[in-house]
Amino acid sequence: MSKTCSHCRVKVLDHTEYCPLCGGVLKKDTTIDKRRPMGYPDVYGFTKKRNLALRIILAICVVTGFLLLATNYMTGGEWWSLIPCISIAYGYVVFSLYFNPTNGYMKRIIWTFILTLGMMIALDVCTGFYRWSVNYCLPAALLLYNIAGIVLMIVNHRRWESYMIFLLTAILVGFIPLCLIHFHVVTEPVLCQSAFVSSVCIFLGTLIIGGGRARTELGRRFHV
């Protein structure tokens, strides 16, 4: 049965009682529509549930953090509550990173490194800055990053050359601990220097062993 809006004078094919344009109630008539509606999925309900779940988790994190800070403030003394608060914030951000299906594995890996390192440095600062984060965690993260690059190249061996840029970024990031050594933020430089040297060695090794494919990849990446 056909339905028409008497205000807009258009036929409405949707299964509805009112006009989506003006909100007027539709008039039914006895003519049969030759065309049937194309139809679309109900996306609204699904999105609503997913957003609610995320908001509940966020609310739990915020309230827990607030309660810890408030307890710490009322009882006085050291700011011990910063440690669980930083951990909760880290946990939530990492969860969001992995929960979002649109984030690719490269983005997840790189951001996990950055976030973990950030959390370590924050914890170190909160507990008196004994520099364990920059002396040991930073170079360890760089070494792990290089190992991750090699593992990715082995696992995805058909497209290994696409990780050349991943290795190149390790060299660029490796300059950060070198600068920190220069400014005496890093007090035990051996690990940082080793991490940088290993980044350079791994990249050069890949470039030389990779031959034409490695050079073509760099040519593509650096075309002007």
Partner: protein, 424 residues
Amino acid sequence: MKKRYKRWEKLDNTANLFPVIAGENMSNTYRLAVVLKEPIQKELLQAALDEVLPKVPGFRLRLRSGFFWYYLEENDKPAPRVEEENTYPCRFIHTNQNNSFLFRVTYFDCRINLEVFHVLADGTGGMAFLRELTYAYLRLAHPDLRDRVGDGLSDETSLNREDSFLRNYKKASKSMYQSKRAFLIKGEKLAYHGFGIIHGHVSVSALRSYCKEHGVSINEYIVAAFTYSTYRAYQGKISAKRPIRVAVPVNLRPFFNSITTKNFFVMVSSEFAPERDEYSFEEILAITHESLAGQITKENLEAIFSYNVSNEQYLFARAVPLPLKNIAMKLIYTRNALANTTTITNMGRATVAEEYEPYIEGFHCFLSFSKGQSLKCGVASFRDDLVLSFVTELEDTAVQMGVFRQMQRDGLEVSIETNGVFYE
């Protein structure tokens, strides 16, 4: 013999912009859809995609970022999975998902949807791929059809991937784009990042005879109806300082004898800057006709894209690292994007080979809304059915209502359907 190196290609002049500005909120993805007379079978559609994709190198690509430019690289992964539509249309195509392909294929009931990231191809390139996919599907669903027409791509399809902007640009010219801010349609947004669609069906023959009578093209009529409807809905806010400006993409292939499947279009704009209080629809139709007809000439179109291409050719500009280019391009885009109230894209008449025609009900197209343009319109026709597809992120449907009411006043019978979000 196994190929040693992967094929790669530079992005065309228009495509350079899309990876920079695209994201979850502005996907730069468009949808082309074909509605069949039978429900779609997932397995057959997947088989059709598996069959067609290896034959179309222009769609077997992935996006990579270099140090100075983005580029497209051959993608040798298996074809992306065909899924039943379960989200809003034109979502951002993440380059690390979907087997890294820059398009997705979904289906719903009798409809096959092809959504393409604009970096890959424009509507003409996309439509050729959708047509081949539909042919392959129908051949699988109806084996007798395969016996009659055989396998393989049809002779109307092009696989050409030349950069026609580069081939046809002449010399540096001054910018032809409007950068003064236009009137922008704003309002309450649909809940949960809703994506509203309203399709309006109109008879092509009736519309054509109306347009012929008034000496305008179908495109000019639709742009005028939109302009008039916006003018009526927001009369107090539209002035000579904030005119209604409708961007209209123009396919350059017929003008420059190109068959490329890459992007090859430019934007022209129809402008309506009111100088007095009242305008009739006929007056706005005449203004729109004058505004558009004067711009769609080979010389003018060439001047528009030559300016863009010549900017890209400066070595100094080319050698700027990509992150800095991105910042500059974003700034320029933002300025230009706010210079248009909307975009109306007309794919024109979709044609299919005679053997497949009995199985096909219709085609439609639309593109995602973008910064400043909360309401856009796509137009496509098949046989006597012209479909205007309005997409919006706004709850208010006053402009769409005005367009359809105007059509009705002009003696055109209109049927509408929506994706249901306006009833929530």
